[in-house]
Subunit: 386 residues, 4 copies
């Protein structure tokens, strides 16, 4: 079994978000950090560091317009030179002044047109650089009961999704994300997986649901949703992060590592870890108070550790105990894998890949952090621009 586990771990792929390298914060304060990228190019340089030391993070998701450049092909080439590639294109229809009352669900048709045009632009950018996935998250919703018609907004949403879907190339996908609340506080227009699922079902096979691990109501069993969407062949991607309360966007695995293990267990059970299964495993995080590059390295490692544990579950013993109704026995098999210290195994896997067994230390010793602090002086640091 170990060989298969090692192979699976070597073959794992985790996508990094360009925006994790820029400044971020809360509505109360964005604390700027030294050495933060000023351009999409510098973000890619930083992301390349994460891949350099982990070996499993070879692509970088972009956020448009945060990562708007003149020439995306040039950016893709730059990424390639740095050992990485461009990943999912994330549309952003929440920061224009026109979007105060919604983007694609806005009561004003002109605003909806503008928003949908942006979605189409994202499809085009993705096509231009040969990227499969366009990810849609809408901040759309309402703050007050009665503010707008829930149903009318669904109709408008469906229309914009359809137009975007129709523009997809043969090998492209539309990934639809849901979120319980924030920034809308009474309703969001895609609040839960059921809503995203229903829309994707109507759109067709190229529309898939994204699970952001921070976007649920308290008490939601996320691995159930993972298992259910896998059964329905409607799970397209993850946005990994951690939360204690709301959409805290902390490092994945830092708040509830056992939950992350349970999620990866469902992935492994459904044989959905391998790339051909078509699940995109992305990070989507904020590093408000910790340095960004090592935080991304740590996050990648956390996903790796949860995955390694999930791969170690003895599926035969588990199935046997489950069939026999042996509640404690089945749980014991499951916990046995979780309680295993997989760090030595991962250190070995890294060495097999020609990497330092300790990515955090290797990065720290590289001097890169000091270098960017020294070099990136002046200019406008990247951030959300809220």
């Amino acid at each position: 079994m170990t060989d298969a586990v090692r192979a699976a771990l070597r073959g794992q792929r985790i996508e990094l978000p360009s925006w994790a390298f820029g400044n971020s914060g809360t509505r109360f304060k964005v604390f700027a950090q030294q050495g933060v990228p000023r351009t999409p190019y510098e973000k890619i340089e930083d992301a390349a560091q994460v891949h350099r030391y982990t070996g499993v993070a070879p692509t970088v998701a972009l956020h448009i317009p945060w990562d708007k450049v003149e020439d995306y092909t040039h950016l893709a080439g730059f990424a390639k030179e740095h050992g990485v590639g461009l990943g999912t294109i994330n549309a952003n229809v929440f920061q224009d002044n026109d979007y105060m009352l919604g983007s694609v669900t806005n009561p004003d048709p002109a605003v909806r047109r503008k928003a949908t045009d942006h979605l189409l632009e994202c499809v085009e950018i993705a096509a231009a650089v040969g990227v499969r996935d366009v990810k849609l998250w809408f901040s759309d919703g309402t703050n007050y009961p009665g503010q707008d018609s829930i149903r009318a907004r669904q109709d408008r949403l469906a229309e914009a999704l359809q137009e975007t879907y129709d523009a997809l190339g043969e090998d492209q996908r539309l990934l639809l994300e849901y979120k319980l609340f924030e920034p809308a506080f009474y309703t969001t227009d895609v609040p839960d997986w059921g809503t995203a699922y229903a829309h994707c079902l109507r759109l067709g096979d190229k529309a898939q649901v994204v699970i952001d691990t921070g976007h649920h109501a308290p008490g939601t069993n996320i691995e159930f949703i993972v298992a259910f969407l896998l059964r329905e062949a409607k799970l397209g991607a993850f946005d990994f992060n951690s939360r204690f309360y709301a959409d805290d966007d902390l490092m994945v695995g830092s708040a509830d590592p056992f939950q992350l293990f349970r999620i990866m267990h469902e992935i492994v059970l459904a044989d959905a870890l391998r790339q051909e299964a078509g699940i995109a495993f992305m990070l989507d995080q904020c590093h408000n108070i910790e340095p960004k590059i090592p935080a991304q390295i740590r996050s990648v490692m956390n996903v790796q550790e949860a995955t390694a544990k999930a791969l170690l579950v003895d599926h035969d013993a588990l199935a046997k105990a489950q069939d026999e109704g042996d509640v404690l026995g089945a749980n014991a098999v499951f916990m046995d894998a979780y309680n295993t210290d997989v760090r030595p195994l991962l250190a070995e896997v890294r060495q097999e890949m020609g990497l330092d067994p300790d990515p955090v230390t290797a990065y720290r010793d590289s001097g890169y952090a000091d270098k960017i602090v020294a070099e990136r002086v002046g200019g406008q640091q990247a951030g959300w621009g809220a």
Copy 2:
């Protein structure tokens, strides 16, 4: 407008649950009350009292086997004599010792067979007494991570649902209820509306989703689900009750009357109040510490008041403000209806229907409560038999 409102209120139909008249409680204690029914016949007598004073609660839902009788036709006749009719048949596959690890999702095929047979029996009973709806709620789920396969349980669930669905008569419906947790504490097999919706979609037009207002995670926007399922033509019924924390099963409208108004607003907006729309409005409550008959009367009145307010919303003014993006204006139109005291209107409606304008006092003055305390001595009081 007032005439239409009055007509709508006169035509409203709310179904009572037979089990609300029996004893109920928590795992800590069931406090028996005096005068509680000993038989399904006595439950129907009590339910008939609620209809007598409210005029809008003409049917009584049954729970099998709690309401098992030799001859359902005889029970239906008895109900008719008392001015009411039999309503939804509720299956119960959570109280047999065999169901400790699940009913239709149990790993043991023999247990699944037994559970499915009970569902089929419920379809038969419904057919025998000419009842349209069979409602399925499953306590099935797991308490511990790893205890059973989430996916295998979905497969088993789908199989049992399909067999039950196939047994439905032409005019019958299968109503599928979801619940976040309790009595299962790690996963339930139908935890949310998305799961119920997906199953109903595969089953076909005769399968519809039930919204129990107490079965959601904290923060869930229930009226969104109402609006969404109405748009998808997949909302079949409500189980009305109130909650502050979990599935508290308090009197509907007692914990958050504004939420109940918002739910009824979506119903009114979609013109789904009238009976032809096919939404069954049922109560599903426990009266652990308050007397049961007046608690049911109060609950019916709470639904009526929320409905009356929803009917008073000025839809034209609301739509205009919404179209103009007038956040405060739209909210004000909405709140204007909610803040109206509709009790005088409902008193008039009752008088138009030949009823006492004050059902609570009329019931209290009737002496019925004393009568059943005096008469129902001995025997085994009805309860959940947990």
Copy 3:
């Protein structure tokens, strides 16, 4: 009774937050609105409009340094000319770059010194303008388990509070606010009322707890806390706002008007509405998408309506039903008040006070909104400066 109710309503005082008139938003976007104040002076002009039409909002809370001016006495004089006065001084120790890892609980003593000095400055400002209350809310906390010592941070907090308390003048008070989360996501240093209470108890009589209605875990019964702190004579103030999920900071009374009524019921029961009781009733809200002045007017009216209903509760009938263990009867007395439409009563009260019975329309007709849009061109709009 009505005379007493009217008198109580005429005597009610609600404090407005200066920051509600500036721009605000979420981490995703701050949508700037036209006509927004550029200076503390303009904020006071706007606040004065709210008082002008409601008659019960005669003071304006300041946030330092958002409302920093050269001469606070001059600002107080300006307020007086506009018919209002300065209210609670709110310290702000969450926006300096030094506070990334905490202010008064920061591991670095120099940062703690700086933060405490700011608190002392706020006490001085309050003293200078004759304001009783200094309100402290700390964004301090940690994002990751292990990040800092929970206990050491309590020690540091206690030290800073003590130093601030010692600087209070005879008639001054320190108001300590608690908050479950945001912007800190693993622990906050004052997460709940118990923590605030324990600190205030040690400090002494001039330290009191602030209840912000949006700062609790889901399911928290806020009116219980109100009743408990009143019993302990440790309730100093409210920060009123509404929430559906987290600290949404919506208009008070807009998400759960019944909860607001229940809170005001505890206030009325304890005879704590009158000003001599020393409870400061403040608004603390964001108007991210709605116009700010009418939103404040609506919020004041919502508090008035909840108060009027609370004043209408028949305390004798309630106590009688409670003593008799009449669950439904007691609840009915309570709901009878809540279900009353108090808007006509409040319209009359306003007329008695020489005000327009309809503050929203009166404001709208005044032309003030157009005036400030026209006049306030150029300059830097006020906001949180996050």
Copy 4:
């Protein structure tokens, strides 16, 4: 360091609840298990098995009247013969019919008298068998707004607590437990740690707070409460169990093992693990679907594993990183301990104690389970008697 860790683990003491060996369930169903004790004596026999294989569970908490016997001294002697002792006496004032509307907070003084008398009886029983702790949990509360006076109930509670406190012997303690909800659904009379703390503070040094890990609102940071109460010297005991949603009472460590580690970290940091610190570490669980004795063994082991990890935290390195504001470094030190597989260490500790390194297997191989199934035929199985 390892020697100290081993010594600490050998010296750890975990108390078992007698009721965990009886039947339990939800309001929907109690599934009876074979071999379940019929008497307090048989419960003690079962508890002794748990201690026999773990070596760290030498006391058994009793619940009065569930464990009512003629002669408690005789019961204590029986326990001693079986290698264990009697532990905390738990009062039960929630199952008499008189307590429907509350016990010590009931509006009826006669009911309050009866309830307080029971508390006094528990103090006497504890004194009779030389037990230090009497633990009070009240199911008291209300289901409906207005049902009773929140404040009057606090007055009544304070009175009963005072009378009970006054009856304590010199070395006895009153442990006060809090709970957010269930079985009361609108308010409980001791909903949170702040309420319990305030009452204990007034009572005096012999009154301490109990933290039941399942009794909090979603999102509550329990280890903060642990650290805070330790700082205030007001933490008396734990009721350990796990929850995903409400008070699920699952095996401790099964839902969120990382949380249990964080709790034990605060205990270790405050040097409160050793018995002289006076913290009682009790289990309080239901085993609704799993066999009870091995579930208790597993629970004890889960606490041991969390404790071992907490003991392995490198406090010097942690403090250094915290002082330097090294967010990632401090978290890494913390996680390093958590990610360690401590099962080999605990196996060694058990061998040092003369125990089998694998308690679960040792118990299973003992044949005890079969023996009790065969022997315990007839009689009334123990349960909650709800």
